[in-house]
């Protein structure tokens, strides 16, 4: 039995960074909006300060099979519950740079974006004002044009000061990290307390995320959020020209059909591609929005490595935002600066760390065990310093999301994410590691080591572009094939750049939502 739901104006699948912006803008414009969220509802009281409890904020849906020499790490990067990945994100919000948008034209690598930085800049500025960013634009010598940050930067604690000295001794520069973290009360939300629990969720609301800003706005304007709503299929009209709605299962096992004038698919990179492919029908035998055959293609992740040092001085590593206190983007704009390598990279400096957890102190020295472990931890919790490399990936068609032969509990094929890192990208990471080692030495680290290399953030798979034969959507995320289907989120990115993507996701979503409202299909 199917429960047929009344048609609404806008149906948004996914309540994270992108979906929340669409819902807020459309509901404020008077549209009837329903959001479907696969995971559970959450309140601030659910956000317990614990690296263990934080695990419930990460992906809890169907298993994603992964292959390749540099897997994207879906289970760690994807969120679960209202607010999506923003509920556990670190709030690091740098902007893409101008040449990130035209890597093929300028460097013969990857794909060009169908828009330029200057077109996105006003949306960066407006999102920055809405959500509140802290930082100091005057110190970001590498920052593209934009309005100053509305809040002063986060304070710099011991490890940040030491590492900044290390950069300076090598004639490298640091600047306050731009963060979606309140340093002063801002628009009804309090200032941060700097106790390093960002990725366990922020119950006081100092961290800007979907729940604190855009979902709150959407709810105030009358949007409805249905949690525990697992979308399993997108439905098209008989002729296949329009999307009519979706099928979803609620937690009580009931199958629903929700119809809408417009559907926004904002279920994050891997699940967006999976749903489009799994919704194939006679009119769209290769999957929806897939006339180009590129749904799932150009999957990307940022190669990331943390570098650690042990210092004689007190470093206060448990204090400050998890995302870090400072940044360095020297050399970002020359993607050909390193022989046999390609791309940009940045350092995010002085991340707050706790003893346990995947990125915690103990796991970054997995070789220490037995009687040596406790003395190491006792020393490290007061004397460790850390900085994290975020490096660029190249959009390669062979890196992809595809459907597995295995299926989930609803009979939907699982996603398989295949990602290999190219040689020139790997060479860039190797170069950056040498720089990181030099910085730690210059900062006076007694000993130093690096953590494992892993995928940070997941992008691509439904790339935007100007040519319908070479992309899935236009620059607004509107499907080239089905004009009342919008796709949102980092899956649209034709290039990764080397910056954390959440700011760009918001800016793109705001631009797209306004386009949708001006051109209601």
């Amino acid at each position: 039995m199917v429960n047929l739901r009344d048609k609404v104006d806008l149906l948004v699948v996914g309540s994270g960074a992108a979906g929340s912006v669409f819902a807020a803008e459309a509901s404020a414009a008077g549209k009837q909006v329903v959001l479907l969220e696969a995971g559970p509802a959450r309140t601030p009281d659910d956000l317990v300060s614990s690296q263990l409890w934080a695990r419930r904020l990460k992906w809890g849906g169907a298993h994603v099979e992964e292959e390749g020499n540099h897997q994207v790490g879906h289970s760690f990067n994807a969120g679960w519950g209202i607010g999506g990945s923003t509920m556990h994100h670190y709030g690091v919000w740098p902007r893409l740079h101008k040449n990130d948008f035209q890597t093929f034209t300028e460097f013969g690598q990857g794909l060009d974006w169908p828009l330029q930085y200057d077109e996105l800049r006003p949306y960066y500025d407006r999102i920055q004002s809405s959500i509140g960013l802290s930082g100091d634009a005057t110190q970001e010598r590498w920052r593209p044009p934009g309005e100053p940050y509305p809040m002063p930067p986060v304070p710099v604690f011991g490890q940040g000061r030491l590492l900044a000295e290390g950069f300076a001794r090598l004639d490298l520069h640091t600047a306050p990290l731009p963060l979606a973290v309140n340093t002063i009360p801002y628009r009804g939300r309090p200032a941060c307390m700097y106790d390093g629990w960002c990725d366990a969720g922020c119950p006081i609301g100092a961290l800007g995320n979907a729940q604190t800003v855009f979902l709150a706005k959407a709810l105030k304007s009358g949007a409805e959020i249905r949690d525990g709503a697992m979308v399993t299929r997108l439905l098209t009209s008989t002729g296949g020209q329009r999307i009519e709605g979706v099928e979803y299962h609620s937690v009580d096992g009931v199958l629903h059909r929700q119809y809408a004038d417009v559907v926004v698919l904002a279920a994050f990179t891997v699940q967006n591609a999976r749903l489009l492919l799994a919704s194939a029908n006679s009119r769209h035998p290769r999957g929806l929005a897939n006339h180009s055959g590129l749904v799932g293609r150009y999957l990307m992740t940022h190669p990331a490595v943390s570098v650690y040092g042990m210092f004689d001085a007190e470093t206060q590593p448990g204090l400050g935002p998890t995302g870090g206190q400072l940044m360095n983007q020297d050399g970002y704009d020359n993607k050909l600066a390193v022989d046999n390598a390609y791309g940009s990279f940045q350092w995010i400096i002085a991340n707050a760390v706790k003893p346990n957890g995947l990125l915690g102190i103990a796991n970054n020295r997995a070789d220490i065990y037995g009687p040596q472990l406790k003395p190491f931890l006792q020393r490290a919790v007061n004397h460790i310093g850390v900085m994290t490399l975020v490096s660029e990936d190249i959009a390669l068609a062979e890196n992809r999301v595809e459907l597995s032969s295995a299926r989930d509990a609803f009979g939907v094929p699982l996603a398989r994410a295949v990602h290999n890192l190219g040689k020139s990208s790997a060479a860039l990471v190797a170069h950056a590691m040498e720089q990181g080692k030099a910085v730690m030495d210059a900062a006076g680290a007694r000993e130093q080591w690096r953590g494992p290399q892993a995928g940070m953030h997941i992008m691509g798979g439904t790339v935007m572009g100007s040519d319908p034969s070479k992309s899935v959507t236009n620059s607004y995320g509107q499907s080239h094939d089905i004009n009342n289907l919008y796709i949102a989120g980092p899956g649209l990115f034709p290039g990764s750049g080397a910056v954390n993507p959440t700011f760009t996701i918001h800016a793109l979503a705001l631009r797209a939502a306004e386009h949708l409202l001006r051109n209601w299909p």
Binding site: W53, R55, K58, N356
Partner: protein, 184 residues
Amino acid sequence: MYSSPQRRRVLKALVLAYPLVSGALLLSPAQARQRKLPLTVLDAGEAADLETVIEALVPGSAEAGAVHFIDFQLARPAVDSLLMLRYLGVPQPHVDFYRSGLAALAQHSSERFGKRPSELPASSLDQLIADLIADDTPGWSGPPASFLYFVWRSDGVDVTYGTEEGMAALGTPYMAHIRPQQVW
């Protein structure tokens, strides 16, 4: 919603609590172990081997109730699990991972030393762990040995140092916004 001046609060969050009778009594994993509460998923042999290895990796983890913690997490719905394994791309049910890993461990120990891990003297246990780290495990049929080492060591760290008491033992403040359950 976010303007409350009470910015650090104590909430009865059931972070690591081990329910003896639902809603009537909550025990920490350490208390559950101390009271010898029966395990739900792991059998006695598996539990003894797991406790032996994790204690060797993270001293103090046995008394902290690492095995009761793991057993409880394996017994609850996957979506509620607090095990770090859920970050690592291992398909559910995670009991299969632990069980097959423990079986492989027991077999390797038996073939190499003629005894189960829980029966090994300290010197042999040290060598067993060295084998895991180096993946020096001919004929191994479970999850990769070095990966098991990483996961089990992390489980031990979670239970021993991922708590208010554990962090206090390391000399660093916990600084909770919302404190985990206190019935440790």
